[in-house]
Assembly symmetry: C2
Homo-oligomer: 335 residues x 2
């Protein structure tokens, strides 16, 4: 399998060129959803739908469809549904995090306040689940419902365990599997089901999405520490400010000497903001990032293992390239 | 048909005695739902599920089942689902309204802050929609999805049009049909579908619920003006404080003299809180309440018309009694 795309450069654009025409249809369909809303609600939905996300979840559904016999309308549709659920969670996350910028533009709560944003998220979410009921096969609808529930629960557990020093790495992985892995896994797993894949293939594709989503979240958690707001286009350092104990922080706590850990835990217990200079000054910060990057890189290896044995095609190659692309982004966090 | 229950007294308990055993099962099932959540999420869900709501929506589903051939498990199940959706919207409403008390106890946002409450509402909502996917018949799931979307949109339009003097009565009715009518109509309409009712009967039962829900919302809007917090067990006068132009307020604006209207609109345009003494001092306040009560009473008449022609049974009588019970509550607002 070729990995030329990644070798050619470290572009921030995910390697979705192969399915660009289908993703444009997804994009148009997302924009079209505003028509399903009451005219008074349209401008709000429209604002959120027109911001250009990376559309990773729809791309995964489309690529999985292509890898398993051919892309059908239903693969686009499940992509739209999962993206709408994702967008709903972003609107609610931004309220909770008090984030004012996302994808270079003001968040819904910065624009209209948290009250309306709570409702906007609800409307997107209920619309997505309504769309899911349009599939003939109710088992598809069930899988969408299950994934949504996982996402919501993951967000709650994360919020509830802020500043909580008893959080283990196992807890952290469970949280990110729920909050991020679940929708990635739904994208690839449901797409496989829509292609009529056998149970084993569906399960492998589900786990490809789960591991990819988990690795992606680890990347996002590292980026929150080491990224620049200008490059990333959203408010950063919020994890530290809000007491989210992400993998690099957990690594830091683990590798710190007793006196370093005492300093760190004192700050966490007192809910003092943990900013970067503080961390760098206290413990072996770079090693903590390195170790998180290694963990995610291993997961991406598992993703590639899941693809072995699928009939060779450019769609399977693209699914592999995504893992290399993310691996390259992760490498950049090591600097 | 007998109306003895209402004539006997003006108890605040809805006349659901006939289906008390089934409602106890619904109650137990609602409490049981906490087990479907991650252990870390349970305490929050449990807190919300253990507050004693009136369970109007489940009662309507069960009574409709009984009226159309017999109560089945599915009638209880749809009741649980709609009640969970209702509970999710209450959690989010309380955030938006900044309400600190509901059903005599602190609201979720008063207890845990709005961040966690946003997520708690999401979790309840996604769980309810997940439960809906367990019906064999996907059309039931679709109806639940449709109702949820209506509720969310109704809430948005209401929020968006606060302090908006261009709001017409038609706008108001559309808002309350979406935000309250939709779930009542789902309770009776879906219950009829589950009983295998013909399309005309399903449509009549749907409209029974729609009109009952709309009348109930008008009652709630009057109560916000004339009720006592002690009796009602929740924060009142929030509509006025938040600029919600409810039917009595719209009546007041309509019946006011030009100078009275000028005073009222000035306050609204400046987003000054419209408290009760202000209203009483400005215009013909009692007439505005009276007229709203009349409107709701007419809707309850339509509800009764929809029941005519159903085979006589104690369940049909109970559905009629509910309309008389609500009519009696409405009458109390006239004082």
């Amino acid at each position: 399998m070729s990995t030329t795309t990644v070798q050619q450069g470290r572009s921030e654009r995910f390697p979705f060129e192969l399915v660009r025409p289908q993703l444009e249809k997804v994009e148009a369909s997302i924009r079209d959803q505003v028509r399903a809303f009451d005219p008074a609600v349209e401008p709000y939905v429209s604002y959120v739908c027109n911001t250009s996300g990376k559309r990773i979840r729809p791309a995964l559904s489309v690529l999985t469809g292509g890898a398993l016999g051919g892309v059908e309308e239903n693969h686009l549709k499940i992509g739209v549904i999962l993206e709408l659920i994702h967008m709903a969670t972003l609107v609610h996350d931004d309220i909770i995090d008090g984030a004012v910028t996302r994808r270079m533009i003001p968040t819904a709560n910065a624009k209209w306040g948290s009250g309306l944003s709570v409702l906007l998220g609800d409307a997107l979410f209920s619309h997505a689940l309504h769309l899911a009921t349009e599939f003939e096969d109710i088992s598809i609808c069930r899988k969408v419902g299950h994934a949504s529930r996982e996402v919501c629960q993951g967000e709650i557990v994360q919020t509830q365990r802020r500043w909580d020093l008893t959080l283990t790495k196992a807890d952290y992985f469970r949280i990110i599997e729920m909050k991020t892995g679940a929708l990635f896994a739904a994208a690839t797993g449901i797409a496989a089901a829509l292609s009529g894949a056998d149970a084993e293939t569906e399960s492998r594709m589900f786990d490809y999405g789960m591991k990819l989503g988990t690795a992606y979240q680890i990347y996002d958690d590292c980026l929150d520490l080491v990224g620049s707001e200008e490059d990333v286009g959203k408010t950063l350092r919020t994890d530290l400010e809000k007491g989210k104990l992400t993998l690099p922080i957990l690594n830091l706590l683990e590798s710190a000497s007793e006196s370093q850990r005492a300093k760190l835990t004192k700050r966490i217990v007192n809910q003092e903001a943990l900013d970067l200079p503080v961390l760098v000054g206290i413990a072996e910060y770079e090693g903590a990032i390195e170790s998180a990057v290694d963990t995610a890189a291993n997961m991406l290896g598992t993703c590639r293992d899941h693809l072995v044995g699928l009939p060779g095609s450019e769609h399977v190659e693209a699914l592999e390239q995504i893992t290399w692309f993310l691996a390259a982004l992760l490498e950049k966090c090591r600097r």
